[in-house]
Symmetry: C2
Subunit: 305 residues, 2 copies
């Protein structure tokens, strides 16, 4: 299992089917969990996929369409029953308060934790969350209602100490923190040991971009350029290109075009229209444009590497 | 398949598990559908059980706890996408408007059908809906919030005409309607043919009672007396009797005691606590008191006969 993984909880579009659940994903960075979107049934999918509820502190909602947020009230109630006490942060476009506050007032009067709503301006790229290991940026998208994607950028990790060298120079523990961050070491006799003799470089920081729902929108390309993994919606096949345009969704080929132009490492497509009994057509059409494309699927765990 | 069936969509309690869905049932009388409760995931269960969305006109919500109504917004959105035009009636205790109206305003501006909210006084027994084939009465229950069960009473059907006798007396078509309703027939020569020579009696009308969530509450016994099928919640086993009392829920034995005292024909228990990996203990404890008890289960179709 990689350090940084994406768990697909649901990758269908608005209309319910027996094949796909409504949209939700878990970004898992060394067992710290971030949720993206929370369609109806998300909490049950979490159970099925054995996702730990208590590891989740941040939920990012891309837009206020039901298939991306109707699972929030149930999940919040369950977190309350589980006795959560730490704040839960919900980052979402304006309107989230009008949606959630009346429900919280009616159903969750005695909630043992606080909900911190962070209303995002979905129309611009901005840093919307930062913790010790991750930065999350909004990605403005082009849908029927204010919508943004999210760029999850892992922070650069510290270098690895070379145990044998630390022992050889008898470096005191108090100096190790600075060395991990790149400092040279000055021995008691004045000798300077350069950092590159004491450490091995950390793995490069990884980035994951989530873009749903959106029409074909090349404006996002500089933001998601070179990411390690891109999730892009692919609601329709080329035959429904007109329908995609009307509804501000993308075709699989358009998703692949974005991936290609942004030079991403790997593409995963999702948000499949209920009309496709078999999503293979979407994969086939995407692969013609961007070969390293896979289909999202409930239960799939994708490494960001 | 009987004329009158109950489809169990979900029979778990508030806490989500991989074994049970949140509460919802479909009452199906000759393909006319009535929904009772609508927990999160109900619309997906409808898909799995091939329940026809367009046959549903009335939804009855027992109380405003999330596990009984958090599936409504998603179901309403889906009915809209399906192009429904006929009114949808939602019968629920007071508060339903405060819950649904803000969601409808935010998510369902262009809904192609009207939602008629019928706010029920959950504290009294009353006729809350009547159509050509069914009467539905509220059953006051004893829970932490205003809650009522529902008694579905099929209307007495018309008698069956005996084809041979109708032909023998050459009875005109225009007289048949009254004969089916019990009238005698007066032949052109003045001879009176008594109704019982022309018809066979209809099957007796059937009744189904749904009681969830509630503490042990014998007040309901006269209302549900002699019903053909009783659904009663049985959240806990006897070992958790104190917990049942505190949370205004019932044990399986208490559900069976209600069934026995009300002299119902058959009992189905549900709303099982997530603590039971295997619900058999609940069945075992209920059967000791009322032998004709079965466990609810997702996907089960129970005839009311």
């Amino acid at each position: 299992m990689a350090d940084f993984n994406i768990h697909i909880l649901g990758c269908g579009s608005a209309f319910p089917t027996t094949r796909h659940m409504a949209t939700s994903q878990i970004v898992n960075l060394r067992d710290k969990l971030y949720m993206i979107d929370c369609g109806e049934g998300t909490q049950v999918q979490m159970r099925h996929m054995r996702i730990k509820f208590n590891r989740l502190n941040h939920i990012f909602i891309s837009h206020l369409h039901g298939d991306h947020c109707f699972g929030l009230p149930g999940l919040i109630s369950t977190l309350g029953m589980l006795g959560r006490t730490g704040d839960l942060f919900i980052h979402a476009p304006k309107g989230i308060e009008d949606y959630l506050q009346p429900i919280l007032n009616l159903f969750n009067k005695g909630l043992p934790f606080r909900i911190q709503l962070n209303q995002i301006d979905a129309s611009r790229q901005a840093l919307i969350m930062e913790d010790r290991s991750m930065e999350v940026y909004s990605i403005p998208l082009n849908h029927r209602t204010p919508t943004c994607g999210f760029l999850f950028a892992e922070k650069q990790k510290e270098a690895h100490l070379i145990r044998e060298m630390i022992d050889f120079y008898q470096i005191p523990i108090k100096c190790l923190c600075q060395i991990k961050q790149g400092a040279d070491y000055t021995a008691p006799n004045g000798e300077i040991i350069p950092n590159n003799r004491l450490t091995l470089p950390a793995e490069p920081a990884k980035r994951y971009a989530y873009c749903s729902d959106t029409a074909y929108f090349p404006t996002i390309i500089p933001i998601i350029s070179n990411v390690d993994l891109l999730y892009h919606e692919a609601t329709f096949a080329e035959a429904e290109k007109e329908r995609a345009k009307e509804t501000y969704h993308s075709t699989a080929a358009q998703a692949a075009e974005i991936a290609k132009r942004a030079n991403v490492k790997k593409l995963v497509i999702g948000h499949f229209s209920a009309r496709y009994e078999d999503d293979t057509i979407l994969k086939t059409e995407a692969i013609r444009v961007f070969p390293d494309t896979i289909l999202a699927k409930e239960g799939l765990v994708l490494p960001v590497e």
